[in-house]
Symmetry: C2
Subunit: 393 residues, 2 copies
């Protein structure tokens, strides 16, 4: 974790909210210095208590800590759920002697947080980080639900002769769809940046990364991304060039996290990268890409390594995007399989080679305009069904 | 087949379009007397050649035969596909000495019809029905693709002292979604009815039945429903009362066929009947019901017999329907599981009992209006993935 930003500490432990005793379920990210902070949240109308709470807490543009639990979403829990979130944030603030604490939760919907367990675990977490201890990997593991691997990544950049760091982590892995979903991401930087800039940069980066990812078309009650900057590196970014460099590095980091989140989608055996070009409008391009990305028939064909481009055309046909079916071209990687809406002869062997790859690029040219869009998704496997048939019970 | 209408003949045989030699793949429905006829077709912008052809053929309001093949959708096949469909219809018309022949196809998209095989099979079909032979079950089996059982049903009704019959069949079983999908249905009656009436009755019945059914959210290039009336019973329906009785019986028959189509959805282990009430508008009610019906997370929970109502609320939250999350009630059958957007204590044992049934009713009350909608769907099982990962190859 050489790129974990200066002045932040992170820890995770098992508090008993989750069932699996060998996995941490409560994470804390903390900076003794107050940070500029911004967040992006789910568009789902059914919002979990921590989403409502953190959205409001971020109006100040400042935060010092992020508390995250897995095992319970604290969604559909009414005023009691909101009170539980407030109490958790207050307990963390008092335990750390800190200001604004942000909260995120993930897990089963419709259950109350076991507050006694949470508070006991939280007290221990606060003591640990107050002693100066830090283990970001424990925090990342505490956020995980059906994720199979911890997903984090960092960058070191330079500004005004100083090195600063950007580091982020994300948890998926189902209910992921453009406009966010069952995902939580925390990005930290020790650069000094104002909250107003963070808000804009986060919104733009999310649109280029997490909002282009889809696992199953379901969006969640609990999604949030937090971005905190504490300035501990001494690098103060103010020139247009420095801000631009930060934003490029940050967007790039978010893209990489989003890609890894989809790769680790529930039951996923491969990443499917859908590019639509030649659309009439950007909205049409996005509609077309998203409809293909969420089609169960396309996703099961990808799992079966089946170059079934007909299902792609059928999905495009119901996408609502303006089409001329006789102008659509489709390729898997560099293998053209359909031209002008009709089959091209192609080597099934070469098709199989491409479809068996860990990343399958699907290029769709609608041929009616110049707009483009890209959506990342994964295939639909037996394991997706297995994981989600057995999740709650 | 006591309710198979007088004056119609049906036959099916294996022509070699499909791979499975033990299954018929070419069906013919034929009436020596010209019929009034109407059709309803897919809304998908990518339309198969037979859809384009039959839509145009039905402008006359008359037909004498319906030719259906499985094994090849003849979709995304351009002008050659359209020429193949026209040639098939012309060959059937000449073989039968008949007028207007309607055509439907189902199977893999993007492949051309093997015309030599089709024509040889068709010639034999024409000879068989010209001899007066009829075996509707063979025709129903010839339409099937991943369907596991033939689905047909009939009614006998009376008008003006005469008995007349309505009989229909349908093939599913994937790519089924409101506004039709990979489904073909033929409904025949020996009542005498004008084409104008048939058109209206078919549109209304489809909205109440097939357009309320969803298997996987994918809609197809090939869907069509045909309704033919040949008057062979001698029953001429003209009074408002008789027309009403026909329409009720016909709608009821379509509802039953739609229900059986969903029950036989790809990999389905159960029928899920989603009722939304208390919506602000009928459009909101439909949006809410359809979003729940197509949510992979809800459908896998149904497969896992998991009373995970949180996923229902999450789906409602992204449906776009006007909501107040604090007013939503959810019940599985008569077991209330959420009230005012929050958990109700309920017997997991009783929940399991309901969810293990062959039909699972989900009642959702949005609590913000008076509009209602119902959607039929099925669960998402390992077999759905298996069937669709291996379909084409």
């Amino acid at each position: 974790m050489k790129t974990f930003p200066l002045g932040f500490r992170a820890w995770g432990l098992h508090s008993g909210i989750g069932k699996n005793k060998s996995k941490p379920d409560l994470a804390l990210f903390y900076s003794p210095a107050t940070c500029s902070a911004a967040g992006v949240f789910t568009n789902n109308q059914v919002k979990a208590a921590p989403v409502v709470f953190s959205q409001s807490a971020l109006r100040s543009g400042r935060a010092q800590a992020v508390l995250i639990n897995s095992g319970c979403a604290n969604a559909c829990t009414g005023t009691r759920g909101l009170k539980d979130t407030r109490e958790s944030a207050a307990a963390a603030a008092s335990g750390l002697g800190a200001g604004n604490v942000l909260v995120a939760s993930t897990g089963v919907i419709g259950q109350f947080l076991p507050m006694a367990k949470l508070k006991a675990g939280l007290a221990q977490l606060c003591r640990t980080v107050a002693q100066g201890k830090s283990n970001p990997l424990l925090a990342v593991r505490a956020m995980m639900t059906t994720d199979t691997v911890p997903k984090f990544e960092g960058r070191a950049l330079r500004a005004g002769g100083e090195t600063y760091r950007i580091w982020g982590c994300v948890k998926g892995a189902g209910m992921i769809h453009p406009d966010m979903a069952t995902m939580i991401s925390v990005v930290l930087t020790d650069a000094k940046l104002p909250a107003g800039f963070l808000r804009g940069a986060l919104k733009r980066a999310a649109d280029e990364s997490f909002n282009c990812a889809s696992v199953d078309g379901d969006t969640s009650t609990n999604d949030c991304i937090f971005l905190l900057a504490n300035g501990a590196s001494g690098a103060s970014l103010s020139s247009a060039k420095d801000l631009k460099a930060f934003e490029t590095g940050f967007t790039n980091l978010c893209e990489s996290l989003a890609r890894r989140m989809v790769q680790d989608g529930e039951g996923a055996t491969k990443l499917v990268e859908i590019t639509v070009s030649g659309a009439r409008t950007p909205a049409d391009a996005k509609k077309a890409a998203q409809t293909v990305a969420t089609s169960p028939l396309v996703k099961t064909a990808m799992f079966g390594n089946d170059a079934n481009w007909g299902r792609i055309l059928a999905a495009l046909g119901r996408s609502g995007a303006k089409l001329n079916p006789d102008k659509i071209n489709v390729a898997f990687g560099n293998l053209a399989v359909a031209r002008n809406g009709m089959a091209l002869p192609f080597s099934e062997k070469r098709g199989l080679q491409i479809l068996k790859g860990k990343t399958v690029p699907i290029h769709i040219d609608l041929g009616v305009g110049k707009a483009k869009a890209k959506v990342l998704t994964c295939d639909f496997s037996f394991d997706y069904v297995k994981i989600n048939a057995e999740y709650r019970t």
